[in-house]
């Protein structure tokens, strides 16, 4: 124990010192800077990207240090019983292990990316860089500036999604994790645990080239003793070949790896051990995300359901619209009925039918809401090789995000159930219905997502970040089919305002959900739904852990001088014209069963 404490103290010291001297760009194991990958036209990368990356990395290291301290302060659990159980603090130990892993930068080739880099607590465990949210929407990975194609989904309540399954009675898919549900949970019994396994080996995120690198890097982690406490002594008794460090320092997709998914030459026995560690990586991260540290059930709404908070007049009106005219709860299931027996404004307590006391505000399904293609998405520009010979998106602007459809075809990720493949055309364009909880979470010092005189935190919404404020989000649902134009983003006709009185054509026209699109909400009613959404932010009944870790600057603007300074027009100053779009790439839209009707 004393040895562990000393080790932990040394590591904390090293981490703090390291944090003070964080480099601005990735550095190879030999200490040479990795040349940046910048295929982007001027204006795609935000000008403050370097300093913002450094800022978030400092915050990540700070939370990692906090977790190390929390671990040191934890009374060790004792293994007892049959089956053996870590008595006492076993669950907390597992959650803290997940937290330590989540903020560990060593789980990347250049030791510069942790999971938390894209998922910080103050943003509801979604994207922490306002300028990235405003522009390139996807976050730069360990190889700067490779980036993914979608916005980072919030962790909060993701562990509650069931294993992906096709409900034959209903003719619908439920569950999974990720926007396209590709983390199915088929192997670990938890989609969330399997979700945690993807980014470390995603070429545009952490970019480790082999899942065994996770075991290799954990084997030298300061918190290795905690891992062994939770998952067993000897977990890391793996004979790694001499070139393992060199391989793990090489980002995935590098041509020198020859396309191998398992470039580290392990014996079958050691490969199994490394796989076990990798599975436990997912298990512990899932436990962290399911814990009150992340999924807290501590919002105003939770207090309201317990009768300890009275909704304001606007919040109550927004709740009734959420259930009624807005029909939001047909997908964002709120566990309540719509037929309140008390009709007075600000009704309290809620006397409607109660289906769940801890509603998750999702139906765990998927839908295509008909969002326009966002030409700011970094993925479209990564059609040339980087210095490692890797090209993220050879299709360029011929890329179309078919969401779950591409997953079921095995295009976006391997599909573990071939019986699902025929359903691909019925789910083209569909993305997971995220929980509405914490959609409005921001750092305390920037208390809103909505642009104006009040300090605000710029977020991004939906899978491609096209929507920049909650007002826009509700307005989109309300008027998508009231102001439809046959144009792409950046080309709305003169006399219209994009996102206000003009909605460009959907990226994927197939399977568009028509529950919404023309709801008939007034401007004030839209605002009231926003007010209700803000009641779903955790941290009201008790402080939300690590929400106070944001060290960046809030944004402000003056509506008197800035035409984009309103939630309705938020981000419009950053719109760029979509270039002429080539047809959808054959490697996406030509894979059987092909989309029906064909996607242009």
């Amino acid at each position: 124990m004393k040895r562990t404490t000393l080790l932990g103290t040394l590591v904390i010291f090293a981490a703090v010192v390291g944090a003070l001297f964080l480099p601005y760009g990735p550095v190879s194991a030999l200490g040479t800077p990795v040349p940046p990958y910048n295929p982007y036209p001027t204006g795609i990368l935000p000008p403050d990207l370097g300093s913002e990356i450094a800022r978030v990395r400092r915050e990540v290291v700070s939370i990692e240090n906090e977790a190390l301290t929390q671990w040191q302060a934890l009374t060790p659990p004792t293994l007892t019983g049959q089956p053996p159980t870590l008595q006492g603090t076993g669950q907390r130990a597992n959650q803290l292990l997940g937290k330590l892993m989540n903020f560990d930068e060593n789980i990347s080739p250049f030791k510069n990316r942790a999971c938390g880099f894209c998922h910080m607590p103050y943003a509801g465990f979604s994207g922490p860089i306002p300028s990235v949210n405003l522009t390139m929407i996807a976050y730069p990975g360990s190889v700067e500036f490779r980036a993914g194609k979608r916005t980072p989904q919030r962790y909060t309540y993701s562990p509650f999604f069931p294993i992906l399954n096709y409900n034959e009675t209903q003719g619908l898919f439920f569950g999974g994790n990720f926007w396209d549900s590709r983390a199915t949970g088929y192997l670990l019994g938890s989609p969330d645990a399997e979700q945690a396994q993807h980014p470390p080996v995603d070429t545009q995120e952490h970019a480790l080239p082999d899942t065994a690198c996770i075991a290799f890097r954990l084997s030298t982690a300061a918190y290795k003793p905690l891992f062994e406490t939770v998952w067993g002594a000897g977990s890391f008794n793996i004979s790694f070949p001499a070139d393992t460090e060199q391989i793990c320092d090489t980002p995935g997709g590098a041509s020198m790896l020859g396309g191998s998914a398992t470039p580290i030459a392990l014996t079958p026995e050691d490969r199994t051990k490394a796989n076990n560690v990798f599975d436990h990586w997912g298990n512990s991260l899932d436990q962290y995300e399911a814990s009150p540290d992340v999924s807290a059930f501590s919002s105003k709404f939770d207090a309201f359901t317990k009768g300890t908070y009275t909704l304001t007049k606007d919040e109550a009106a927004g709740f009734q619209l959420f259930n009624g005219k807005g029909n939001c709860n047909s997908c964002h299931v709120d566990g309540r009925g719509t037929t309140s027996t008390v009709l007075n404004p600000g009704f309290n307590p809620d006397h409607s039918k109660t289906a769940s006391t801890t509603p998750k505000f999702t139906c765990f399904g998927s839908a295509n809401e008909g969002l326009p293609l966002n030409p700011r998405d970094a993925i479209y520009y990564q059609n040339t090789p980087d210095s490692f010979g890797f090209t993220a998106n050879p299709d360029g602007f011929a890329f179309r995000d078919l969401g779950m459809g591409s997953f079921l075809r095995g295009v976006a990720a391997p599909n573990p159930n071939s019986n699902w493949t025929p359903f691909a055309p019925t789910v083209d364009g569909q993305m997971q219905v995220s929980s509405a909880r914490n959609v409005a979470m921001t750092p305390p010092q920037c208390p809103t997502t909505e642009a104006g005189l009040t300090p605000y935190f710029q977020k991004e919404f939906f899978h491609n970040g096209y929507i920049k404020s909650l007002k826009q989000l509700v307005h989109f649902y309300n008027t998508r089919d009231l102001y439809p134009y046959n144009v792409t983003s950046g080309h709305c006709p003169t006399g219209t305002i994009e996102k206000v009185t003009c909605w460009p054509m959907p990226e994927v026209k197939n399977n568009i959900d028509m529950t919404t699109g023309k709801l008939g909400l007034t401007d004030r009613e839209e605002d009231q739904i926003v007010a209700f959404l803000e009641t779903l932010t955790d941290g009201f009944t008790r402080p939300y852990p690590d929400r106070d870790t944001f060290t960046g600057a809030c944004m402000t603007c003056n509506p008197a001088t800035d035409p984009n300074c309103s939630p309705a027009r938020q981000g419009n100053g950053s719109l760029i014209p979509t270039p002429p779009l080539p047809p959808c790439g054959s490697d996406i839209c030509g894979v059987p069963p092909v989309p029906s009707p064909p996607i242009p």
Partner: protein, 140 residues
């Protein structure tokens, strides 16, 4: 008949298990199927632009699968409605009525179309509604 009873029993047991599991209690439920689904408003043209047409109608809540498809069968000959468009909507179990809206993209301009509407659950169960033949004309 015995198979039908067995299927019903399995469905009932599965349903009770689903509703008793708090982890998945919020998966959209299959609601009781309405005995007779009827159109109570429309169908009518909600939108007609050069690139997009939307047909809209309202029924009593059909129940059944939480996702339903509005279906429009259409064509330029009222006796040969050979084309089909369908769009998904989600039922709200607590709403007494359901609005169906169906998108039709890229219709021919300056053309008169004839159509009927109906609906079905995502499980393939037809709701048993069918409107009379109506018509609209694409502008421009």
């Amino acid at each position: 008949m015995n198979k039908l009873l067995l299927k019903l029993a399995i469905t009932a047991v599965a349903g009770s298990l689903l509703s008793s599991n708090p982890m998945i209690g919020q998966v959209s439920p299959t609601t009781p199927k309405t005995a007779r689904v009827r159109i109570i408003q429309g169908p009518e043209l909600e939108l007609a632009k050069e690139h997009l047409t939307i047909i809209r109608w309202t029924t009593n809540n059909p129940g059944g699968s939480p996702v339903h498809y509005g279906i429009v069968r259409y064509g330029t000959d009222p006796k040969n409605l050979s084309q089909t468009a369908k769009s998904p909507i989600r039922l709200n179990p607590d709403h007494s009525s359901t609005i169906f809206r169906v998108r039709m993209d890229d219709l021919k301009p300056q053309t008169t179309y004839y159509y009927t509407v109906g609906s079905m659950g995502a499980d393939g169960t037809d709701d048993g509604t069918k409107s009379t033949v109506k018509q609209f004309r694409c502008t421009r």
